[in-house]
């Protein structure tokens, strides 16, 4: 029986990147309060560390803000040196929020009305 959907994270939350030196912070904010618990369960420090593995974070810390249905990831040493030292084009890491949003999320069918957009979601 179909009980969950696998959807891209961007259907459940939105995100923004900020930078200070070689440290990036990425906020993740639920589109709907009812999706918050799923984010807490599934978008863990370990999952985020894996998603950014090729950028070699020395530390990933997640801060929870339940009132805002938001969390803040702080990723150390993922900016190839940061805005002063990196050789990359996006030395601020502005685009990295969308690497986070490329994760997927398992969502119970009854919460599908809380999702944003109409991206492909496939019943499991």
């Amino acid at each position: 029986m179909t009980t969950t959907l696998t959807v891209p994270l961007y259907r459940a939350a939105h995100a923004r990147t900020g930078d200070k030196g070689n440290r990036s912070n990425i906020s993740l904010i639920a589109w709907h309060p009812r999706l918050w618990d799923l984010l807490v369960e599934q978008v863990t420090e370990a999952v985020v560390e894996r998603q950014f593995a090729h950028r070699h974070p020395s530390r990933v810390v997640r801060h929870l803000l339940p009132n805002l249905h938001a969390m803040n990831f702080v990723l150390d040493d993922v900016l190839d040196g940061g805005v002063n030292d990196a050789l990359n084009l996006d030395s601020h890491g502005k685009a990295l929020s969308f690497l986070l949003l490329d994760l997927s999320l398992e969502v119970p069918l009854e919460l599908s009305d809380c999702l944003a957009g109409h991206g492909a979601s496939k019943p499991m």
């Binding site: 009132n67 002063n84 030292d85 050789l87 084009l89």
Partner: protein
């Protein structure tokens, strides 16, 4: 005790970085004047490296070193602000606040306005001989061999508040903490105790929401189909209505583009924050762990629940130093096997530039943003068969002539590289590094002086 609450203070922000749109201020100023109460216009134009670039400009020309677009920012609104009683507070003084103040006085004369009272904030610049040993102690071993361009302490709100209380129409600062541009006017207007941590923290977060300009009104937010923003080409810049307890409502001028809702406010609230319970500024340690945002109406969102803790005993100092040169080059390949030819060109460049340091190669159109300097990401991907690929390479070198070799090698690909390579562009830029340290608060006191 007077129990009449002081009127709400309106603070509008018309620039969030040096390089922001310069036509944002007029609608903000008109909205501030229409609101009728005490009002301040701020411009935040000083990112980490902006000050170092300003110092380099001042080396070339002693009258320069302040925000290069000062005239473009102020000319459209200076007369209206002075007529309408809207005070102006900004860090657009950069490396030469006194120079900026003189330029503003000249601009006011040129526009035929009354002569404004212009205050200049001093004390952030630690480049002078008087601070040499302070800086050396604060930097410790990392000072070794640094070619320092600028050293500035992040000052807080107090000198700004004092200048406003002394009657300044315009306050020109160099390095002050971005939220202090808002906290200063709030402190002056409401007369809060300077250890009223909760109120200072609330005003700090109001300032935090304002300090990046349009980032709270729909800029850096739009994502078609998910986060639609009307009128992105004509974004309204934000205004915070701050009450006597420091709580704020964020809004924007009527008739402008953009949107303010709980989602835009949450994104900006967390922007460049690390631990939400400890956002450090020179004025206070702000704590948004229990903060709440609530939509009150169209483009009106209230922030509440911010708490404050005692400010740090030290001030943060940013030191910018010369590190050498960044060389970049690009060349395009298109059509069948374009990606394979671009990858081959990258290999050729790596071989030709061997020994100069790491060469970063990006395949624009395939993988150029999420990838890493070491190329691990790109090497892990098979040729995707992309038919429109721009190779972009970059390297850093302390020596300008060595860095220039990258540009020559990319250009030489026209005749020596893979088939069909076209559209070479190269660039060479001076690089600045940043190191941070802290100094005791008392060793870098902020103060104001009036332009005479």
């Amino acid at each position: 005790m007077n129990c009449e609450p002081l009127p709400t203070l309106h603070v509008g922000c018309a620039a969030g970085f040096s390089g922001d749109r310069t036509d944002a201020a007029a609608p903000v100023v008109e909205a501030l004047i229409a609101a009728g109460g005490p009002a301040v216009l701020i411009f935040e134009t000083l990112a980490e490296r902006t000050l170092a670039l300003a110092q380099l400009a001042r080396r070339e020309n002693p009258d320069a070193g302040y925000e290069p677009l000062l005239d473009e920012l102020l000319r459209p609104v200076l007369a209206r602000c002075l007529e309408g009683g809207v005070r102006i507070v900004s860090n657009f003084g950069a490396a030469n606040p006194m120079g900026a103040a003189r330029r503003i006085a000249a601009l006011a004369a040129e526009l035929g306005t009354r002569a404004p009272r212009i205050a200049v904030i001093e004390g952030d610049d630690l480049m002078g001989a008087a601070h040499r040993s302070l800086l050396a102690d604060a930097l410790g071993p990392q000072a070794q061999g640094l070619k320092i361009v600028s050293a500035n302490a992040y000052l807080g709100a107090e000198a700004i508040a004092d200048a406003l209380l002394a009657g300044a129409d315009i306050v020109v600062a160099g390095r002050v903490a971005d939220p202090s541009l808002t906290v200063g006017p709030a402190l002056a207007h409401f007369g809060w105790a300077r250890d009223d941590w909760d109120r200072l923290a609330r005003a700090t977060m109001a300032g935090h929401l304002l300090e990046c300009g349009a980032q709270v009104t729909g800029g850096y937010y739009a994502d078609p189909g998910y986060k639609d923003v009307p009128g992105l080409a004509n974004l309204g810049y934000p205004i915070a209505e701050i009450d006597a307890d420091g709580h704020c409502v964020v809004t924007k001028p009527a008739g402008t583009g953009g949107r303010i809702d709980e989602h835009t406010v949450k994104e900006q609230l967390l922007y460049e924050l690390h631990d939400p319970a400890a956002y450090l500024t020179p004025d206070v340690v702000a704590d948004i762990g229990e903060a709440q945002v609530m939509q009150l109406g169209p483009d009106r969102v209230r922030l509440s629940g911010v708490r404050g803790h005692a400010r740090p005993a030290t001030l943060k100092v940013n030191v910018c130093h010369e590190t050498g040169w960044l060389a970049e080059g690009e060349i395009s390949y298109a059509g069948p096997r374009a990606e394979a030819r671009a990858r081959l060109a990258a290999e050729v460049l790596r071989e030709r530039l061997k020994g100069l340091g790491p060469v970063r190669a990006d395949l624009i159109g395939v993988s150029s943003v999420f990838a890493d300097d070491a190329g691990d990401w790109s090497h892990a991907q098979a040729d995707s068969g992309a038919r429109d690929v721009r190779l972009r390479v970059a390297l850093h070198h302390a020596d300008r002539h060595q860095a220039e070799r990258l540009a020559r090698e990319v250009t030489a690909l026209y005749t020596c590289g893979p088939a069909g390579g076209g559209g070479v562009r190269t660039a060479l830029r001076r690089r600045l590094g940043t190191v941070s340290c802290t100094v005791p608060r008392d060793s870098a006191p902020g103060r104001y002086v009036f332009l005479l």
